[in-house]
Amino acid sequence: MNTNSLTKLFNPTDDHAALREMVRSFTEREVEPQALDTIEVKHSINDGLGILGLTAPDEFGGTGLPDATAVSIVHEELSYSDPALCLSYLAHSILLVNNLAVNANDEQLALFMPGICDGSKIGGMCMSEPNAGTDVLGMKSNAVYDSARDGFILNGTKMWITNGTLTGKETGDLFLVYARTGPRRGQILLSLWWRKAWRDKLGMRASPTAELVFENVFLPAKTHVVGDVNGATLCMMRNLEIERVALAAMAVGIARRSLDEMIAYASNRPALARIQKHISESYAEYMAGKCYLYAIANGLDLSTYGNGLDADGVKLYCATMAKNVADRAIQVMGGYGYCGEYTVERLWRDAKLLEIGGGTNESHHKNMARDLHKLDGNKLE
């Protein structure tokens, strides 16, 4: 078979091939050796690779690759060894850095971007609330304008915030927070307080998740409000698209690793003919997901909005695909697969998050059925 067209799909340019090569060797040498110590909340996204600010403009300290393919490559490669580390990387580089890069003005970029690109500051994004996850626009957090101080007073509680705490004690450094400014929505930027960190999650244990509580936090209007005061819904929807593509890329990384583990295990035990089905179906599904992912990523422009159908679709397919592939890997490896040192049980737990975070499967069903309905009787291409 000529594998050239696949290579081109997965690495469209030399830069992409070099990026994959670089992150893969970093992952092999630095990420993999620590990936099994994931019981405790730890934090180790700090590197001299220039990937924290991957999509941010270079004049503000970023790498200047505003490119969904590059994003996918990094997430796929990191998740091959450590999906939890990758989730924290995603919260920082996509939810915080990329959202700012697309939506903030130059003054804000100059103020906030260099620190979050060089890793001296680590943060994330606060959208979900205790009673507003899938129904995110039902959020209660609010920002009230104070004309005397020309700023907003923020109150509210944000739930399940990745990188909400880095140490288990203090809050992370910088967060984008969505809050209600009235009947419509505003988007606001700040840093603040931490209350509680979860340690006993099903998976993603090495990625800190916290609840953040805001009590009368003052946000200067000039520097700490991103975009139009009532226009943040668009920022949110646009950034959710690349977030979903990145989560799909994590799924592809998890699937590739699970396959490698299954194949290696089976090749030492040639008698295990009954697992052929597990391995072959996993490979076919992995390739289908990976092709869908890069086909979408290669065409996604991060500055646009309206690519929801396939951003939802690729995450919907890949998340469940990764969970199933990890599940089969456990099955193939039997008791070994169920136990920690064989990696695949961790991947299975981590993969489950992808059916929830960044939008539950059901929210994708809802969005996609709606978008497909809009075809108005026109047939698919």
Binding site: D14, D15, A18, L19, E21, M22, S25, F26, E28, D47, G48, L49, G50, I51, L54, D58, T63, G64, L65
Partner: protein, 272 residues
């Protein structure tokens, strides 16, 4: 300091499992569809050259590789790490980059030509060996051909203001310090594992590296340009007779006590 020349070799990646096809005889080590990267000792040499450049403003680091088309990627890695320009002596696609076809003698002969042609080379930094053929000959051969001062297995390198290089080498009996006096010839130093930890090329530097110049010249043209004899350079001096996979490990024996272990070892004549 003027120029530092760093010859780098593209080899099977250190983490790859080597596959041997017994039907191919001496050519049995498979190179197709195998991940290749820069020889780890060459990475150390590139890192050292960049550090020396950082300490000695104005120095130019030139990475050079002999081998097939894909060696350009290896050179780009060196450029992304911080080398200034590259020279690629390109071989025909059917020439193997490992010991079978390109032996240290050929590489050292070519490098000598390049050093003389480049002029103003103060230092040639090489890996102490390449992990595919483990010869460790290229550096010493080059120093011999150039009649230049050399130090092998460097664990530390300092440059003196007088153009000398002080090299520490770790030997079985302790650390040895050698000074390579400035001689008008480039110093030739081969790098050991503990010399430094090579940096990762950052993504911005990978992108900038694309703008750095790489001169590609065919092996045949280079040989002509250097006034060498193609057969003399390319015909391997040594022939690889056989290549085979290490035999699988035999199952061990369990012993009940240290005395029993010693008994068995004595029986086999492994301890006195």
């Amino acid at each position: 300091m003027r120029k530092i020349l760093v010859p780098i070799k593209r080899v099977i990646d250190y983490a790859q499992k080597i596959r041997v096809d017994p039907s191919k005889g001496a050519q049995g080590v498979q190179l197709k569809n195998v991940k290749m990267s820069m020889n780890p000792f060459c990475e150390i040499a590139v890192e050292e050259a960049i550090q020396l450049k950082e300490q000695n403003k104005g120095a130019e680091v030139v990475a050079i590789s002999v081998g097939p088309k894909q060696c350009t990627e290896t050179i780009r890695t060196a450029l992304a790490m911080g080398a200034d320009r590259g020279i690629h002596i390109e071989t025909k696609p059917d020439v193997r980059g490992d010991y079978i076809d390109l032996q240290p003698w050929a590489i050292a002969t070519l490098l000598k030509g390049v050093v003389e042609k480049e002029d103003a080379v103060d230092l040639v930094l090489l890996g102490k060996q390449s992990i595919d053929s483990d010869c460790g000959q290229t550096g010493p051969l080059l120093a011999g051909l150039l009649n230049a001062p050399q130090a092998t297995f460097a664990a530390n390198i300092e440059r003196g203001d007088d153009g000398s290089f002080t090299v520490e080498r770790e030997t079985d009996t302790g650390t040895e310090t050698i000074k390579l006096n400035a001689s008008g010839k480039p110093a030739v130093i081969t790098c050991d594992l503990r010399l430094n930890t090579p940096r990762y090329p950052t993504m911005p530097n990978i992108m900038k590296a694309k703008k750095k110049p790489v001169e590609t010249i065919s092996l045949e043209d280079m040989v002509k340009e250097l006034g060498l004899d193609l057969d003399e350079v390319l015909t391997p001096k040594n022939e690889v007779v056989e290549v085979y996979e290490p035999p699988p490990r035999k199952e061990g024996e369990t012993v009940g006590s240290i005395d029993e272990l010693l008994g068995k070892l004595k029986e086999k004549g492994l301890v006195a």
